[in-house]
Amino acid sequence: MLEQIEGSLGIAKAVALCRPGAVCAYPISPQTHIVENVGKLVKEGSLKDCEFINVESEFSALSVSIGASAGGVRTYTATASQGLLFMAEAVYNASGLGLPIVMTVASRAIGAPINIWNDHSDSLSQRDSGWLQLFCESNQDAVDTHIMAFKIAEEVGLPVMVCMDGFVLTHAFERLDIPEQELVDKFLPEYQPKEFLNPDEPISMGAMVGPEAFTEVRFLQQRKIASSLEVIERVSKEFNALTGRNSGGLLDCYNCENADVKLIIMGSSVGTAKDAVDELKEQGINAGIISLKAYRPFPYEAMRAAIGDTKKVVILERAFSFGARGILYPEVMRSIKGLDTQVNTAICGLGGRAVLGSTIKGLVDYALNDKFEDELTWFDIDTDTLNSYLKDKGISFPQGPISEKQLEASLKGAKA
């Protein structure tokens, strides 16, 4: 059914359609509206046979979820930023135990300095945790990905993090097509746990494993998550057959045929990029977008195929690995080993700084006109302020269109 609603409400409705047995909540911006809405659905009785549990920390939110999932019910929770870090120990534990929990990460920067706005540093900090990490382009993509996430998690036997951009998606009111309950029931049957804590068939979960078997356990875990590449593709196709919507998947290409440059982007910036690319096309500039949906497992083969024989690739990265560089870059390079492709990374959109159409067009311009001086570029930054602070060498990046400066400029323009 089509509705004009907030992204968070859409997610809450999607989660409710999946009929979870336990939903655990602890407030952290920007995921609060999601669990608030799920809580309401449980309390008013429209989401039946589900316990909504308000806990005292994110660590407990995921720990309660671990208990509920080990107890044999479909389990959901949500978090962001500091909250994800606070529960980090349990994040690794959930995947090690092979529990198919679905958790939304309403992606947000990590402090200090404290910042509540969107980037990808929270979810990417947990990239080695053994969870599947699926990124969403739009609220419709997020609604659909949540429904698919339960199916993928339960088939693979691993938890899934659905990463959607905080505020930009969670708080945006958009037209959403919320599937009917019948359709979701058909797609996602009632949860049948492979194994759970049951007095009739007692098992011990979470044993201590020493050096004699630990590496083998890790090997099997890697095999399991690698096998989910196929599951993600298959489940997305199945969902597409039911709804006609092209949500989820490993990655999605836009305008990639004969593109002279391809931009690799995760999350909501893809939407902005698509518009920018359309505008460029009118000017005769051919740029394609590779929207990376599955970050873990990383779809190396699909990425190589998507890049194809394009000679120039720019990765838009909304997180950073201090002391190293962009986080996506090494993964992309591994995908195209042996190919003669120039790959540059642009760090932008940190801590909620808007990724604008001009950002995308600027990156295309940089790539096509060989303006990148280094593999890594900090894009759209306030060069003037930085240079007034950096008394020594200074930096030579061009001044970026940050919103305050734009506002000042427009005010000056208006006065004139």
Partner: protein, 353 residues
Amino acid sequence: MLDEVKFYQTGSKTIGNRLLNPSMRAEQASIDRHNTLTSGHRACQGCGEALGARYALDTAMRVTNNQILVCNATGCLEVFSTPYPESAWRLPWIHSLFGNAAAVGTGLAAAARVRAKKTGSNVVPRVIAQGGDGGTTDIGFGPLSGMFERNDDVLYICYDNGAYMNTGVQRSSATPPAARTATTQLVGAEPGAEWGKGKDVPLIAMAHGIPYVATATVADPKDLEYKIEKAMSYHGSRYIQILVPCPLGWGCASNTTVTVARLACETGFYPVYEAEYGKITSVRKIRQKQPVENYLKIQRRYAHLTGKKADPKILARLQAMCDQNIKQYGLMSDDVPETVPTAIQAFERESNI
């Protein structure tokens, strides 16, 4: 050479007497006991925690007709019972993390209710979360308090041996004053654990107003079994803290586990009582009062208090602590205390000034 055979049955006040009427015997004396934690696990000789866990869970299994789910915090009990590919547990059991046993318990209880509802079953498995004092009073305290506050239907059992034994005997907030641990060594002006520190979790649990709180020791299985049975008769959050001597960490002989636990009780060092909805309802009285020295002298962690170089002032201070417990909890009176006792740390801190 054969040991001299001792007959406990006459003239003693010990329990577990085999000449007792069967209904008065401890469940542990029965061959029908469940052996929830079965033999072959890797606990040290004389491990109090292994005893406590088996006593408690055997009774819980009996009173719920084997409908128990257990989640275990990280610690000795978890390590010695489940080295892959072995498990000593004869019930459904999960270990997640050090500090989250209470929260995992909440999740298990929710799942058990939802599954029963969905399958139309009227049997809802009951949940027990358990951990050592480190996992309970320190690192798991936030989730524990959260579980109490929500009154989630979980019995939490703390096996209290007064230090982080699994990592090599480091101080926890349950370590008694003057006790030697690896992080409160017998050096400096105040050897052993400092005075006026620590956390009285049973009293804190009572302050949450939860249905049932009790303390117990492995010296009195009958009392412990009664408390487990009573705890399982309630729904909501329940807390039982069991004193479980650790021969390795306490420096006592492995055949003295029960003796040491009994002396902790008989000296007033460890008040044993039960409370319902925040009020103390019964107290285990001291049978034969012992001076605290008798408790201390068989443990090497207190060797500095009883030897020739011992400072009598510290011994007197510990005796005063026991006396204060006896007074506050009415351990030697006929009555149950009408007011909730004050944490012993307050007494230590106040008398410090």
